[in-house]
Symmetry: C2
Subunit: 315 residues, 2 copies
């Protein structure tokens, strides 16, 4: 495939993830353009040579003409407003998103009547920074990009989303929206909550505690440096799944506290944690092969493979 055969991409929201995606898509040879709500963000992108406008209507009309893949790259609270405009101005464009939860986006897309061409997405990457100034075309290199395989997913938009993810340097994990949301509650949203609680507990120890803090505190609180509004926008739409896993974690910590009180030991949490970390360090991303998009039960087979740790590395 030569560069001029790449289909157009239209990124809606050029913050850390969307802006990085715009850069990565351009670097991979896609004709790509975008929209950003704030003048300053759009201006910063244009100064770096990217085609970003604050005129949403104009951007969506252009996307409709170009049959561009629309990428929703705004926090969950801003998704519905964008969908309202898309439903009017570009309802037949293939559509994906990079939002950190999948069920609420899928529901919103269905409510707005633009589900036919929709395929959910979630690149598992980011930094504590935000905004255009933090964007990086290499942000997706060697990352995992979750791509939806929910019932009703169409082959053509699915292929476009997967190809874009692969062209940005990621591997693709096929996921069902609900299973994705339960998984990220454990490995993305719970880490945020625990980092916040740890940072607060450290600071409550005053200058001495903060002054003595070293590697374990630094790494354990890193994501607590994320802007509070962004943390809320990431975690709160997944409240139900997060509440469940937080409940589980509180129970484990209560057991630990009781063990400390009873005999000064940490109990089982140390072995369980070591096993968990080891599983993470030793995970193997086996390659999913032989499932042909569009054949019988391709979506179910992909969901099963993703659930078992499989990834797509090529189409």
């Amino acid at each position: 495939m030569t560069f001029d055969q790449r289909p157009a991409v239209c990124v809606l929201g050029t913050g850390l993830i969307g802006g990085s995606l715009l850069r990565a898509a351009v670097a991979a040879g896609y004709p790509a353009f975008g929209y950003n709500r704030s003048d300053s963000g759009a201006l910063a992108a244009r100064r770096d040579g990217f085609d970003v406008s604050t005129d949403l209507s104009a951007v969506l009309r252009r996307a409709a003409e170009a049959d561009a893949l629309l990428v929703l790259a705004v926090p969950m609270p801003a998704v519905r407003q964008l969908l309202g405009e898309i439903a009017v101005l570009a309802p037949r464009c293939p559509l994906t998103d990079v939002v950190s939860i999948k069920r609420p986006v899928l529901d919103a897309v269905r409510e707005h009547g633009v589900a036919a061409q929709f395929v959910g997405g979630h690149p598992m990457t980011g930094t504590a920074e935000s905004g255009w100034s933090a964007t990086d075309p290499e942000l997706f290199r060697d990352a995992v990009w979750a791509v939806g395989v929910d019932e009703g997913t169409q082959v053509q938009p699915w292929l476009r989303v997967v190809r874009l993810a692969l062209d940005c340097g990621s591997v693709v994990v096929p996921v069902l929206a609900d299973e994705h949301d339960q998984a990220v509650a454990r490995i993305s949203h719970l880490p945020h909550v625990l980092a916040e609680a740890l940072a607060a507990a450290g600071a409550a120890g005053g200058d001495l505690a903060i002054g003595l803090a070293a590697g374990s505190f630094r790494d354990g609180t890193r994501v607590a440096g994320t802007a509070p509004d962004l943390v809320r926008a990431i975690c709160e739409p997944n409240a139900t799944a997060l509440e469940q896993v937080l409940d589980e974690t509180i129970a484990a910590l209560v057991t630990t506290r009781e063990a400390l009180r009873a005999d000064g030991s940490l109990g089982d949490v140390v072995e369980a944690g070591y096993r968990g970390r080891t599983a993470y360090e030793q995970r193997e991303r086996w390659e999913i092969r032989g499932i042909v998009p569009g054949t019988d039960d391709w979506l179910g087979e992909l969901a099963t493979a993703g659930r078992r740790g499989g990834v797509l590395r090529a189409l």
Copy 2:
């Protein structure tokens, strides 16, 4: 000061911290030697050109002759046995330690009658690795090294410990044993417990959750990769202080869970965590000046300065 004026150092236990200290002391020009319980550890050190023996009695007699600064560099459970030997073979040597808690060491030193020349120490550094193969003479560079200023501390051994810490590239925070232990419960032991709980919660999500895990899970669980026995040896001797701060943290997480349940919001934990992380990132290590060791209330003045975030950068 020329190299041959440095006084001798004897490191008891040449694992990650003790072995790195032996390397750093030699690099800084100290005549330094050591003891290690295991043949394999001592052999590995000797192969790298360091003077390490498994004969504790011989090492302690040599230390007594050389008036070496003894450094206890074994996990807390092994400290008492070493002190029993020191009390017999080298009771007049200046004595310090690099154990992760200070009150139990201080109590043990007093019980063994070797407190006169004792000054507690705790370099706030480390990795998830252990053993001689993980040692690094630069491990202490730009680290914080807590040094005891408890009642009864003598000037001469205190100066030797502080000079060694500074010569290894660290800054020194003067601390009282109990205040140290309360602080490290917050910034070292709680991070271990939360990392273990997070790693266990992630792994409970199976291959999909582990497969999707990215930066926040990686950093939040890093110290859960530490060998379980070592985590217990670090944290359990501080059970009382750890139980208190764990109690506080559980209460904060319960509040978070209730907020999620009530209205899907994370409540106050996000702002509190952001403030805590910001305090950590913006901490200023102001230099303690003008306190002359041995003058009236020098220990009290140093403890106050350390409590307020002050550090010693030179003698």
